[in-house]
Subunit: 142 residues, 2 copies
């Protein structure tokens, strides 16, 4: 899987952590440890889905536009990475005579479709706020 899902979750958690602060792509990039262009591309997806607001020009950047308790990792996955579980390599070949070789590609695709649904369901049990809470919980003193 590519890592845009990670970038989206990280960025949203960051924005939820500083909800009044306008964060630039440079700031997000250095926190996430990637480059600003990737951040802008991912943020653009999140904007199109209404999860953040964007301010262009001087002093601009990104700010949260959703309730972190309501947005789940399942939603974010669907926005950034839908279909990524499906193997792009298919065994066999539809043009072959053999019933196994000619059809198994389709059968495996169906199974991956189901896996995708089960994966989204799993991710939907976590909200942005859940992740933020894990990160800001005070640690036991040693």
């Amino acid at each position: 899987m590519n890592s845009e899902f990670n970038i989206a979750v990280h960025s949203l958690v960051f924005l939820a952590y500083l909800p009044t602060h306008m964060a630039s792509s440079d700031l997000l990039a250095s926190n996430v440890c990637t480059n600003p262009v990737r951040i802008r591309r991912v943020m653009n997806l999140l904007k199109k889905n209404g999860l953040i607001q964007v301010q262009k020009g001087t002093g601009g950047g990104y700010i949260l536009n959703c309730d972190p308790k309501e947005v789940t990792l399942g939603q974010i996955y669907r926005i950034t990475s839908s279909g990524s579980l499906v193997s792009d390599w298919r065994s066999g070949d539809p043009n072959m005579e053999c019933r196994i070789a000619s059809q198994i590609g389709d059968v495996m695709s169906q199974i991956y479709e189901g896996a995708e649904i089960s994966y989204v369901n799993y991710l939907s049990q976590f909200t942005i706020q859940d992740i933020l809470d894990k990160l800001t919980a005070d640690k036991k003193q040693v």
Copy 2:
């Protein structure tokens, strides 16, 4: 995800389809549409886990050594592709000051661990025989 899981499933279904036939890596490779070296590597994993028997030398090859009604895609996934769901790219960096950036890699890893478990559970509902049945079921006449 890499495609060794697909190759393993396809090969096992093929062997289950011809349970008395010794299939060479060349034969499997041409049915799966890949090269014999990959087949042998994957078959070797399956052999180590007792799912097939191998006969070296002239006239050798692979033959099923399990009950296709008992072996699930979950088991096969664990053999060939365990951990492949975990994104190898980590956002943030443990050495940074920021609590988000320094810890989110670990938190996301935990989530991927859980996803892996849920994925294996999903795959465990399908057996080799289930796949074979889908492929050999007679189609409606048109």
